[in-house]
Symmetry: C2
Subunit: 231 residues, 2 copies
């Protein structure tokens, strides 16, 4: 099967849709510096780094177009609302411009979308000008719950709904991206993350409606596209 | 191979060494209530629950001998020191009596045991009378790093060193428990956690020097012992 490059989409366009991500527990300062350098070189949308490394990433990316992103309630989502709000405020204060928060799954599983919406709204408020992406961890949810989570995300004023943390039993699925995009109807973005490691997987997610891709394989993916367009 | 029950150790003694644990991302209020009831019935040392459920567990266990434990920087450990201190203070304020914190692994990997010791000491201070168990996530560390982490844990005044979160590629290993116990020399406790699901595995860990076991299979393990002593 030939690789399908979206019409009119250059490698730079593709890079601008990728959050260049490093969220392994062993992430080191040196790896974060390398990540930032790659992000500038390739023109990724952002780097997504652990809270501990946000200060460093902010310093390394100062003056560049690459945004600094980090995570809240990650990856389990079962922190208190107070903790999530504090985490968010702390991260924004030291330079984070994008916040990927994990929802408290129990609110959905216990059929309390009101608590979920409240949680997201408070994080959105604490984030001020930073964009909030809401990770709903699709693999634990049924269709109705995925729709409810996306609707709560929209009502609460977040910028994106995001499929997965990459720490659960499964990551982004094409079906889920389609469902989230259909529910969002262009009012918020859809971020596919977790297991997106190749250009073809990236393109499948985009065809399904993803407007942002979270991956630690951004360099590989863009290089694949550069190689394919050079043919 | 016959099951070896430690001499003079009753099922109740065994239960008193177990942290009855529920840390799956989907943990619900109903599951936490059930966990608390089992903990009282069996006489477990504590329940270990997500931050979001600490208030509920505190209410359900009020007046019992079972302690309420929760987690900080869990499971990746890469939060800022400020976030870990805030999380700890919040949890203690709502009733947590045991705090299982995950270290920032990068401090060890970047050979900065001083930063690690400072991090643990600050969490110990924020925890006041609550015991702090320090999760060093052995599977990412070499022998020298495991020893350094245990030494930092002792110097910083924590109560336990703990092998694993249960979220990493591997959990408690007998060799690691031995190494940690040899390093601790009885000055702090050693908690084995991650993958301890049977009585024989529990006994292996105790024989290697574990003084506390973290498991979500506590009921099964104690029932196994009751069944074996009834033979």
């Amino acid at each position: 099967m030939p690789i399908i490059v979206p019409e009119g989409c250059s490698p730079a366009d593709l890079a601008s849709l990728i959050d260049h991500t490093l969220l392994t527990p062993t992430a080191s300062s040196l790896q974060v510096i390398e990540l930032c350098e790659e992000a500038v070189e390739y023109g990724f949308a952002s780097v997504c780094v652990p809270p501990l490394h946000v200060s460093l990433a902010t310093r390394r990316l100062y003056g560049s177009a690459v945004k600094v992103g980090s995570v809240v309630g990650f990856p389990c989502g079962y922190h208190s609302l107070r903790q999530k709000v504090q985490e968010t405020a702390d991260l924004v204060a030291i330079g984070a411009q994008e916040i990927d928060m994990v929802i408290a799954l129990c609110h959905l599983l216990e059929n309390r979308p009101d608590l979920l919406e409240e949680e997201i709204a408070q994080v959105v408020m604490a984030a001020h000008h930073a964009s909030v992406k809401v990770i709903i961890e699709c693999c634990y949810l049924d269709t109705v719950q995925k729709i409810a989570a996306t609707q709560a995300t929209m009502k609460a004023g977040a910028a994106f709904v995001k499929t997965s943390t990459g720490f659960a039993p499964s990551g982004a699925q094409v079906d889920d991206v389609q469902l989230l995009a259909q529910t969002a109807r262009g009012r918020i973005g859809v971020k596919a993350a977790g297991g997106v490691r190749t250009l073809s997987s990236c393109q499948e997610m985009m065809a399904a409606g993803a407007t942002r891709i979270g991956t630690s394989s951004g360099v590989h993916i863009v290089n694949e596209m550069i190689a394919s367009t050079a043919l």
